[in-house]
């Protein structure tokens, strides 16, 4: 099979992924994460970040084994909270995976863009605890108060990696922010203005998200079962996924190992409802992404769904997929069954899962699956990963406020361009 014609665009710079950095509840680092995806590992465990007394449940997908000092060397102590630590550590890991030293980075122009939903909202909660304990806002800790703004997630990476000549833009488009960030990196490199981008997403388990989804009735009482007829909602999660994007010329010139090619993406806005998912908006995002990538529907080997495990998302997203793909859609999996909903990190971790699937020839499973919902007639690759020749993958994401971002990754090299 050759798809050369559909993935080469005249006059458009090609963009490839040369580095992955992963902090996740099912494994830190590319190898552990790959193993976790293949094994169908679950990241669900008791919450340690905050006191869950009174919530009636205490499960989330926290990262159990995070050692910030392994990755963070240059930042002043206390410069970032948990979300920032995740972002910076994943960025450090990604540039090491890409084989880029600090000397290689130095004054090089680049885009650094981290997507997030809640940023350091955990710190905001701690500040409020301090205020309530003191009975006075003057009881708040200045170190925390200085680090609660989301912009720092991206500037802290520049500071840690000693990269002053960058655009550091944090994208706060909630639960689609990871794909947004990768798309922005793609556009920045395609435009020719830079040939390097560090992009992805980061979020940390926090009381805000837990209380919000509990109040919304969208928190699962046990595990996450996307597309299952008995699905009961999400588990909140955390982590970071950062990708090193590079122009193909830059990657080839330095002999970099190429994980995958970023073929394109699409952004659509529902302009309809502040929280409900929208079938037409999602379908439009998918079509825009396929168009941008120059990919035909039948070329997509699997879809990494937004797949949160809520009633509303999974049936709406399925309908949108069927609108685009007809009655025979590609296999559609939900890595949130393993990772929970890691919010701004979610679609970045999803994109990395897609890249690893391409590289290692497998499709990650949708775990905790018992019976597929008749409203979601999809092959969700239930419970066990399958071996497959994966060439082109679509990674979906949607967010409150009607924001959809869909990313298309493809294999780079002779597998596609035979």
């Amino acid at each position: 099979m050759t798809t050369t014609a559909s993935t080469d665009r005249a006059g458009q710079r090609r963009v490839v992924v040369t580095g992955f950095g992963v902090i996740s509840s099912i494994g830190t680092g590319v190898e552990e994460y790959t193993e976790g995806l293949k094994a169908g590992r679950s990241g669900a465990r008791p919450i340690t970040r905050f006191d869950t007394e009174g919530f009636g449940q205490n499960t989330a997908c926290e990262v159990p084994d995070f050692e910030p000092e392994r990755w963070i060397r240059n930042l002043p102590s206390g410069h970032v909270g948990r979300a920032g630590q995740f972002a910076v550590a994943a960025a450090r890991m990604a540039v090491e995976d890409a084989g880029l030293s600090e000397d290689d980075l130095a004054d090089r122009p680049a885009v650094i863009t981290v997507g997030t939903t809640d940023g350091e909202s955990h710190d905001i909660a701690v500040l409020l605890e301090q205020e309530l304990a003191a009975g006075d806002p003057e009881g708040m800790d200045p170190v925390l108060a200085r680090r609660i703004y989301a912009g720092r997630l991206s500037t802290a990476i520049a500071r840690e990696l000693r990269m002053p000549n960058v655009e550091a833009t944090t994208v706060t488009t909630a639960c689609a922010a990871g794909n947004y960030s990768i798309g922005y990196g793609l556009d920045a490199i395609r435009s020719g203005e830079v040939d390097l981008a560090l992009c992805g997403g980061a979020d940390a388990v926090c009381r805000k998200a837990f209380a919000l989804f509990k109040r919304f009735g969208a928190l699962s009482p046990d595990v996450v079962r996307p597309f299952d007829k008995d699905r009961g909602g999400i588990l909140t999660g955390e982590g970071a996924g950062i990708l090193v994007l590079e122009s193909l010329e830059s990657a080839l010139a330095r002999g970099a190992r190429i994980h995958a090619e970023v073929l394109g993406y699409g952004l659509s806005c529902d302009a309809a409802h502040p929280t409900a998912p929208n079938r037409d908006g999602i379908a439009r995002g998918i079509r825009l992404a396929l168009d941008d990538a120059g990919v035909k529907r039948q070329e997509v080997d699997f879809i990494s769904a937004h797949g949160t495990g809520t009633k509303a998302n999974d049936s709406t997203e399925t309908a949108a997929i069927l609108d685009v793909y007809g009655d025979a859609p590609p296999r559609t999996v939900a890595v949130k069954s393993m990772l929970g909903h890691s919010m701004g990190a979610a679609s970045a971790l999803g994109a990395i899962a897609c890249g690893l699937a391409i590289e290692h020839g497998f499709i990650p499973p949708t775990i905790n699956h018992r019976e597929t919902d008749p409203d979601c007639p999809l092959d969700v690759v239930p419970n066990e990963a399958v071996t497959a020749d994966v060439r082109i993958v679509q990674n979906n994401s949607s967010a409150f406020a009607g924001n959809n971002a869909v990313l298309i990754l493809g294999t780079y090299g002779e597998k596609v361009r035979a």
Binding site: T117, L127, P142, P164, T172, S191, R207, A271, P274
Partner: protein, 375 residues
């Protein structure tokens, strides 16, 4: 207004992004006219804070006068709306609707929205968490306020209000956010993802924000005087713009201050922006720093003073007059340049430099070509 001829659009490459409209909701009042008049007069805006804010670290604030959400936006859907969203929606009406409330700008499925923020509505998130900590159960929180707590809500609500289905994005970057948003719009226009953009930035005043800022201030520094508001621009490629351009965005440059040296970083950023735009430092007609009430803000001013002609820095009254408007600042700086330029025919064809420094390290500079108000 003047009869001087605007620079002909044909002189611009067709893909140059141009600003063809703007609006502001600011401490000078609601709308573009109030903002322009306030800027030209160099008026102060600080007032004693409304008692409804409770105890504040500093008694004076620069809030938007007469900003009654329900009066401006109607009762439907506004009872629990956060102030940040309300400020943005009122500014969007000023940009996209005429005096009768009818659409004044052509929009389609490729009309994008990008809004720069700091951390959304800090009042919303703090109140939400306060309920979680103090109510009978930790999830007995006001569900009606939840949608407004999403950091991307204001941008999404703008899309819903005006039916804008193109790329809809929220970027965070404090005082640099307005320029990051403009750069985002420039890039996506350049890649053909949108035909035109509503781009700008917004900040709300709240007691929560005031206390975080006061707490974050270094020992001995006074609590900063805070402002608020929203500035929005209509950005289109010159070749397909439906209205006469007010200014062309010649370039936006960004850096991160990784060594706590804002003087060097702001200077390098501004020099590079001018160089890329092909504008000599001595050609700058107006330079507008963000005037942050901090060492970084003072260093930024010094860096510009060492770079551009002294009269350029005097052309636009200091942004201090609006208080520290954080994420709204950079959009107000651009709006201020456009306001001053509109009243001065000598501005036509001249260059303006707008810069920002943020506490989190982001530094940005934009170079505009002023093109005139008439035509």
């Amino acid at each position: 207004m003047s009869n001087a001829t605007a620079v002909p659009r044909a002189a611009l490459p067709p893909d140059t992004p141009v600003i063809t409209g703007w609006s502001a909701v600011s401490p000078y009042g609601i709308g573009r006219e109030a903002f322009a008049a306030g800027v030209r007069a160099g008026a102060k805006t600080a007032v004693m804070a409304d008692a409804a804010h409770g105890t504040l670290p500093s008694p004076e604030v620069c809030t938007v006068p007469g900003f009654d959400v329900q009066e401006l936006l109607g009762k439907r859907g506004t009872a629990k709306m956060d102030r940040l969203t309300a400020l943005t929606l009122v500014a969007s009406d000023g940009l996209l609707r005429d005096a009768d409330g009818e659409p004044a700008v052509t929009t389609d499925d490729l009309t994008g929205v990008v809004l720069g923020i700091t951390m959304g509505s800090l009042e919303n998130v703090t109140d939400f968490l306060r309920q979680s900590y103090t109510n009978e159960r930790p999830f007995y929180v006001d569900a009606g306020r939840i949608p407004f707590g999403s950091l991307n809500h204001a941008a999404g609500a703008t899309a819903i209000r005006h039916g804008l289905k193109g790329p809809n994005t929220t970027v965070a970057g404090g005082r640099a956010a307005g320029l990051l948003a403009l750069n985002y719009a420039r890039r996506l226009l350049g890649q053909g993802r949108a035909t035109r953009y509503v781009a700008g930035s917004a900040e709300e005043f709240s007691a929560a924000h005031a206390w975080y800022e006061a707490t974050a201030a270094r020992p001995g520094e006074p609590a900063p005087l805070l402002g608020e508001g929203c500035g929005l621009f209509l950005l289109e490629p010159a070749g397909t713009a439906e209205r006469p351009p007010l200014a062309a965005v010649l370039g936006i440059e960004t850096r991160v201050d990784i060594d706590d040296d804002p003087f060097a970083t702001a200077g390098a950023c501004a020099r590079r922006a001018l160089e890329r735009a092909g504008v000599g430092a001595d050609e700058v007609w107006a330079a507008v720093p963000c005037a942050a009430p901090s060492d970084a803000g003072r260093a930024e001013y010094e860096a510009l003073a060492a770079l551009v002609p002294a009269e350029a820095l005097r052309r636009v009254p200091s942004m201090e007059l609006l208080g520290d408007t954080s994420a709204a600042a950079a959009s107000f700086q651009i709006a201020a340049v456009l306001s001053v330029a509109a009243a001065d025919p000598d501005s036509r064809g001249r260059a303006a430099l707008v810069t920002a420094v943020d506490r989190d390290g982001a530094v940005a500079a934009a170079v505009l070509r002023l093109l005139g108000e008439d035509a």
